[in-house]
C-alpha cells in the first residue's frame, strides 16, 4: 500500500471515530442531565411533596400539590380546546385540503409551528388577560391550545394520508357517502396514529412555561378556579429555581423530575409507537 493510500485509510478511520465521539457526546449530555435530575430530585419525592401546598417563603416542608393539580387542569383544558380543532383541521387538510384554502391552512400551520411560544403568550395576554383585567388559568389554557393546534393538525394530516387510497375507494364503491368514508373508514384506520400525535402534542405543551408567564402566571395557593391565576409545574420550577431559598431549589429539582417523567411517559413512547407503525406500514 502506498503512503497516500495509508493516509486516506487512516483519515477515514479517524473521521469515523470522530463522528462516533460526537454522537456519544450528545448522548452523554442527555445522560448527564437525567442523572442530575434523579440525583437532585428523587430524594425529595415524598408524600408531602405531592399532597401539600407551598408554605410561606423560607420555611421548610410543604409541597407542590397546587402546581401538579394546576398543570392537570390547565393542560386538560388546553387539550379540550386544542384537540378537536387540531384533529378537525388535520381531517380537513387530508380530505379537502388540495385547494387554495388547504394550502393556506397548511402554510399557516407551519408558520405557527415555528413561532416562539412566548409570542403566543403575548397573543393570549392581549385577548384574554387584558380584557379580563387579570391573569387566569383560562388564558394559559388558550395559549397552550393555540400552540397545540398547528402541531396536531399536521400530525393528524400526516397519519390520515398514510391510509391507502384504495381503502377510501372501496368504501365509496360500497355506497359510503364521503363524510362517512372520511370518518368511519379512513380516520378510523388512522386512529392509532392520530391519538399518538395528540399525546405527543399534549406532552409538548405540558412542559411549556413561556406562554404561561403572563397568562396563567402562578399562584402560591391552591385553586381550581380557572378565572384565577393558577400554578403549574413548569412555572413553579421557573420561580423556585431563581429564588434565594435552598428549600425552593430542592423543590424545583423534584418538580423537574416529576415533570420530566410525565413528559417522557407521554411523549416519547407515543413517538416510538408512530415509528413502529411507520415501519410496519412500509
Amino acid at each position: 500500500m502506498s503512503g497516500r493510500s495509508v493516509r486516506r485509510h487512516v483519515t477515514s478511520g479517524l473521521m469515523t471515530s470522530l463522528v462516533a465521539v460526537l454522537s456519544f457526546t450528545a448522548v452523554f449530555a442527555l445522560v448527564l442531565i437525567l442523572a442530575d435530575l434523579i440525583a437532585k430530585g428523587a430524594s425529595s419525592l415524598d408524600w408531602d411533596f405531592f399532597t401539600k401546598n407551598p408554605v410561606p417563603a423560607g420555611q421548610s416542608g410543604g409541597g407542590v400539590a397546587n402546581a401538579i393539580v394546576g398543570t392537570g387542569i390547565i393542560v386538560g383544558l388546553a387539550a379540550l380546546i386544542g384537540l378537536p380543532v387540531g384533529v378537525g383541521t388535520g381531517l380537513y387538510l387530508a380530505e379537502y385540503g388540495s385547494g387554495r384554502l388547504g394550502w393556506t391552512v397548511r402554510f399557516v400551520a407551519d408558520v405557527l409551528n415555528g413561532t416562539p411560544s412566548i409570542v403566543i403568550g403575548i397573543f393570549a395576554w392581549t385577548w384574554l388577560v387584558r380584557p379580563m383585567h387579570g391573569y387566569s388559568a383560562l388564558a394559559g389554557s388558550v395559549a397552550l391550545a393555540a400552540l397545540m393546534i398547528p402541531m396536531i393538525a399536521r400530525t393528524t394530516e400526516e397519519m390520515v394520508r398514510l391510509v391507502p387510497h384504495s381503502l377510501r375507494e372501496a368504501a365509496l364503491a360500497l355506497g359510503y357517502p364521503r363524510w362517512r368514508t372520511s370518518l368511519r373508514v379512513v380516520a378510523r384506520t388512522a386512529l392509532a396514529g392520530i391519538v399518538t400525535g395528540c399525546l405527543v402534542g399534549i406532552a409538548r405543551i405540558a412542559g411549556e412555561t413561556a406562554p404561561l408567564i403572563f397568562t396563567a402566571l402562578g399562584n402560591l395557593n391552591f385553586t381550581t378556579n380557572i378565572t384565577q391565576p393558577m400554578q403549574t409545574l413548569p412555572h413553579e420550577i421557573y420561580e423556585y429555581a431563581q429564588g434565594p431559598f435552598e428549600e425552593w431549589h430542592r423543590l424545583a429539582w423534584a418538580s423537574a423530575l416529576v415533570l420530566m417523567s410525565l413528559v417522557l411517559l407521554l411523549g416519547v413512547t407515543a413517538r416510538w409507537a408512530i415509528r413502529q407503525r411507520h415501519g410496519a406500514a412500509r
Binding site: T11, S12, G13, T16, L18, V19, A20, V21, L22, S23, A26, V27, A29, L30, V31, I33, D36, L37, K40, G88, T89, L93, Y96, G102, T104, V105, V108, V111, L112, G114, I118, V119, I120, G121, I122, F123, W125, T126, W127, I149, M151, A153, R154, T155, P177, R178, G207, T209, A210, I213, F214, P234, I237, Y238, A241, Q242, H249, A256, L259, V263
Partner: protein, 340 residues
C-alpha cells in the same frame, strides 16, 4: 371534484315526478339530495380549519397594533439603538437583537458538529443494533422542557463552567475580546451552550432524514471508484444533501432564536452589547419573558410588543427559508415535520 355537465351537486334540488311506486331496488332513480351529511361535515371541518388562519391574522394584527406607539416614536433606529431606559421612555433593542443572534450563532457553532456527527454516524457508520438506541436517546433531548434545561443550567452548568472551563479559557484566550471581563456565571457562553444542547436533536433528526433521502447509488458510485468509507460519505453523500443539511441547520437556528426559558435563566438578562462571551447578555425572547408583564407605562409595553413583532418576523423568515431548502432535497415528503 370538478364541475361535471351532469354533476348532481350543481343542479338545483328539483325532484321529477317519481316513478310509480319505486321498489327498494330502484330507489336510486328517484331519490336525491341525501347530501346533508356531506355538506355538514365539510362545513364543520372547514370552520375548524379556519381557526388557524384566524389565529395568525389576529396575532399579527395585535402585534402591530400593540407595537404601533413604539414604532411611531422610534422608527427604524429601534433596531440599532442601545439605550433601554423605561423611566426616561427611551427604548432601543440593539442589545437584545445582538444577544439573540450571538447566542444562536454560538449555539450553532457548538451544535452543528455534534448534530451532523450524530446524523452521519447514525446513517452511515453505526452498527445496526446501535442505531435505534442512540437515535432514541438523542430524541429524548428534544423532549426535555426548556425550563428543566434552565434549572440544570443554573445549578450544574454554570458552576461547572466557573470552576473548570472559564479559568483555562481566560488563561489561554483572555487577551482576545471574546473572553475578556469578569465571569459571573450568567453569561452569553452559558446561554449558547444550553441552546446548543437544545437544538442538537432537531438538527440531527432533520439531517438524518435528509441523508436517508440521498439515493444509495451516490455512495455506491463513490465506493466503486475506490473511495474509503469516509470519503464516500464526505464527498458523495453529504454534498448531494447539502441544501437539505443547510436547511436543517437553519431550522435549528430558527428554534434557537425563539427559545425563551432556558436562555433567560442563564444568560444574565442585561441590556448590554459585548463581544465577550463571558459577559451577561439579553435576547428578545428573554426580554419579553422578563419585562412584558411588568412594563412601566404604555410606551414600555409598546416597545415590548415591538420586540415581539421583530422576533416573530425574524423567526418566520428563517423558518420559511429553512423549509424551502429542506423541501428542495426531500421533495415534499414529511421530512422536517419531525422537527416539530
Amino acid at each position: 371534484m370538478t364541475t361535471l355537465p351532469v354533476d348532481p351537486a350543481t343542479t338545483p334540488d328539483a325532484v321529477s315526478a317519481p316513478a310509480p311506486t319505486p321498489t327498494p331496488q330502484a330507489e336510486w332513480r328517484t331519490l336525491r339530495g341525501r347530501n346533508v351529511g356531506d355538506r355538514l361535515y365539510r362545513v364543520t371541518l372547514t370552520a375548524l380549519a379556519l381557526v388557524l388562519p384566524l389565529l395568525l391574522v389576529t396575532l399579527l394584527a395585535e402585534l402591530v397594533i400593540g407595537a404601533w406607539p413604539a414604532i411611531q416614536r422610534f422608527g427604524l433606529p429601534f433596531v440599532w439603538t442601545s439605550v433601554w431606559d423605561p423611566v426616561a421612555g427611551v427604548f432601543g433593542a440593539a442589545p437584545m437583537i445582538f444577544g439573540t443572534l450571538a447566542s444562536s450563532l454560538l449555539a450553532l457553532l457548538i451544535a452543528v458538529p455534534l448534530a451532523l456527527g450524530v446524523a452521519i454516524y447514525l446513517t452511515e457508520f453505526s452498527p445496526k443494533w446501535l442505531r435505534q438506541p442512540i437515535a432514541f436517546l438523542v430524541e429524548l433531548l428534544a423532549a426535555i422542557p426548556s425550563v428543566v434545561y434552565g434549572l440544570w443550567g443554573i445549578f450544574v452548568l454554570i458552576p461547572f463552567l466557573r470552576s473548570y472551563v472559564v479559568p483555562p479559557l481566560r488563561a489561554a484566550l483572555g487577551w482576545t475580546p471574546f473572553f475578556s471581563g469578569v465571569f459571573y456565571g450568567n453569561s452569553l457562553l452559558a446561554g449558547g451552550i444550553i441552546l446548543a444542547i437544545m437544538i442538537v436533536p432537531y438538527i440531527a433528526a432533520v439531517s438524518r432524514e435528509v441523508l436517508l433521502a440521498v439515493p444509495a447509488n451516490q455512495r455506491e458510485a463513490a465506493i466503486g471508484m475506490g473511495a474509503t468509507r469516509w470519503e464516500a460519505v464526505w464527498t458523495a453523500v453529504v454534498p448531494y444533501g447539502r441544501a437539505g443539511l443547510i436547511g436543517a441547520i437553519i431550522l435549528g437556528l430558527g428554534r434557537a432564536l425563539g427559545e425563551t426559558m432556558a436562555v433567560t435563566m442563564v444568560i444574565g438578562n442585561r441590556h448590554d452589547i459585548s463581544l465577550s462571551v463571558l459577559q451577561p447578555a439579553y435576547t428578545m425572547a428573554a426580554a419579553i419573558a422578563n419585562e412584558f408583564s411588568e412594563a412601566v407605562g404604555d410606551l414600555h409595553l409598546a416597545a415590548m410588543f415591538e420586540v415581539g413583532l421583530v422576533l416573530f418576523v425574524i423567526t418566520v423568515i428563517v423558518n420559511a427559508f429553512a423549509r424551502l431548502l429542506i423541501w428542495r432535497v426531500a421533495r415534499g415528503t414529511a421530512v422536517g415535520s419531525r422537527a416539530l
